[in-house]
Amino acid sequence: MTNTAKTLLVVGRQETGKTHYGVQLLGRLRQRSGKLSVRENPESIAIFEEGLRVLSQGMPADHTPTTSYDSVRFPLQFQHGQTIDLVWPDYGGEQISNLVEQRRLPTAWQQRVLESSGWLLFIRLEHNIEYPDAQSRPATLDSQQVEPQITNFQWSANAFYTELLQILLYAKSTGTLSRVKNPSLVILLSCWDEIKLENESTKPFELLSQRMPLFAEFIKSNWVQHNVAVFGLSSTGKALSKKTPDYDYIPEDEGYVVLPDGSKSSDLTLPLSELIEQAI
């Protein structure tokens, strides 16, 4: 039986947890206990070889080289029997930062965006650049004392991610005059375990709205409600350290996702199955 392969665009800056999720996803898919599983063993899992080894030793995976882009083909099936092949990539996240900063779409990325039917966007909130501003803090000093020479600054996370999606939509030749259906979008708020929540039952979209209001509104305004979902993700369940490996760490038993309704599940394949179902 032949399966047309679905290509998902996996979008994440450096250190947003793409590799960890890929490695953990492979583990879960091979266990065949989640909503999605592999029909047969993928022919090559070379791109995750190193990641699998270090994670099993209770250590975090290394940074994926900036310029590399490789992928693995997962032959998948849903619990209810439907089958699909999925091309899952791993790459250095600087390529994503460069899209926005250099304002050029390399040919390879043009192709990837055009072929993709669903986008999986990783955002690590704790690594976001946020500036407190004059409107939310009292100005106790006279304005005359200000040095206005701030030239080299980075865009706030709100602006960065909004621009990133605008660029990707442009590359996909998708306008926003009417709301977007294709591509579907799943946002993963990664490293959920490092976020200090005031309320444990906070839904991922609520958290996104609190922390990145402008970007969250951009998503809400421009996507058809059924074609976008926000999940929380902790691929490894806790922070791992190179210096103090946790030798008793069993990757398959760790990690969870926070579903859009705020509940937790250890089935790491759920965001992916959601995206595939939306995108089909």
């Binding site: 390399p106 501003d133 004059a134 304005s143 200000v146 602006a159 909004t162 621009e163 605008q166 926003t176």
Partner: protein, 323 residues
């Protein structure tokens, strides 16, 4: 020989091939290479697609990209230099960053995020720095006057593109005394294309020693604007309203507004008052913008006035069959 596009309104190196739409602008028939082989050395980059917007504030040709999808509404930001125009715009962006909804719609993107970030940065707290007013904008500076874009999706689901003009006050000061001053063409552009205005009154100037001059300048500008404003809405912004001004002057100015503008409303804004936690600091900002946008829609959607029926002529009297 300088390299570039032979067309005067195409900048392929910044925003891609505008005329022929070539993926590689060096293949365009209008492309003129320098002839010294320099551009060939970077040819491995040419397969990269160049984005048609650069993210900074837009020039009048860059506008084509935004205007291609809908007719954008231009909001003219008018006022003398250092009246608080740029501070207002950065406050608007920062308040949208926190509350991205206006009564007229919710944030749906912007093709000038870089431009917004640039001006907003000066009102931000960065470590030990304190918020300051944006640097003075003049016609000579490298920060180029331009249009700041923001899209809103209204409750009906329709997308509205809005452009705020970010122009130096000198333009308006020149334009106030001579509509055809060649150094103030931009002000005339704003007057021509704007659907609504934010008109700035610098409270600080009216509290200082130069208040007589400030009033005379403001009146010149007001009268120049009123000559062409017709029914377009004008939000009068009392900027830096934390600075107290004499009541007599305030009343005099208010009488001026009443006698010259048909469709206007006053708003008070201040950017960074001392010693106050200001929850409401951005309020006048979004209120005034909401009012202008709503008023523009009202003016645009006003019922068409049908001339009185002429019953002497059957042809002209015909108003269609009643349903």
């Amino acid at each position: 020989m300088a390299q570039g596009c032979k067309h005067s309104n195409c900048w392929p190196e910044d925003t891609g091939c505008n005329i022929e739409g070539e993926a590689d602008y060096r293949q365009c028939k209008y492309w003129q290479s320098s002839g010294d082989g320099k551009d060939e050395s970077v040819s491995n980059q040419t397969a990269d697609q160049i984005l048609p917007w650069h993210g900074n504030s837009l020039g009048t040709t860059d506008l084509f990209f935004v205007a291609g999808r809908s007719q954008p509404l231009v909001i003219g930001v008018v006022g003398a230099q250092s009246a608080g125009k740029t501070t207002f715009l950065s406050s608007l962006y920062l308040s949208l960053n926190k509350t991205p909804q206006l009564t007229t719609g919710s944030f749906a993107g912007s093709y000038t995020l870089g431009g917004w970030e640039n001006i907003a940065h000066y009102l931000r707290w960065d470590g030990n720095r304190y918020p300051g007013f944006p640097p003075h904008t003049t016609s000579e500076q490298s920060r180029i006057p331009g249009l700041l874009h923001v899209a809103f999706r209204n409750p009906k689901g329709q997308l509205r593109d809005i452009l705020f003009t970010d122009a130096p006050g000198e333009w308006f000061s020149r334009w106030a005394v001579d509509k055809h001053d060649p150094t103030a063409k931009g002000a005339d552009w704003v007057d021509h294309f704007a659907s609504g205005f934010l008109f700035f009154v610098d409270s600080e100037a009216f509290a200082g020693n130069q208040r007589g001059i400030a009033r005379s300048d403001l009146q010149n500008l007001l009268h120049q604007l009123s000559a062409t404003v017709r029914n377009r809405p004008v939000a009068v912004i009392w900027a830096k309203s934390d600075v107290a001004i004499a009541e007599a002057i305030r009343r005099r100015l208010q009488t001026d507004f009443q006698s010259t503008l048909k469709n206007y409303k006053e708003f008070a804004v201040f950017a960074a008052p001392k010693d106050t936690m200001a929850e409401n600091r951005g309020e006048g900002v979004s209120d005034s913008v909401e009012w202008v946008l709503e008023s523009v829609e009202t003016v645009r959607n006003a019922a068409i006035r049908i001339p009185p029926v002429l019953d002497s002529d059957a042809f002209l009297a015909y108003r269609g069959r009643e349903l």
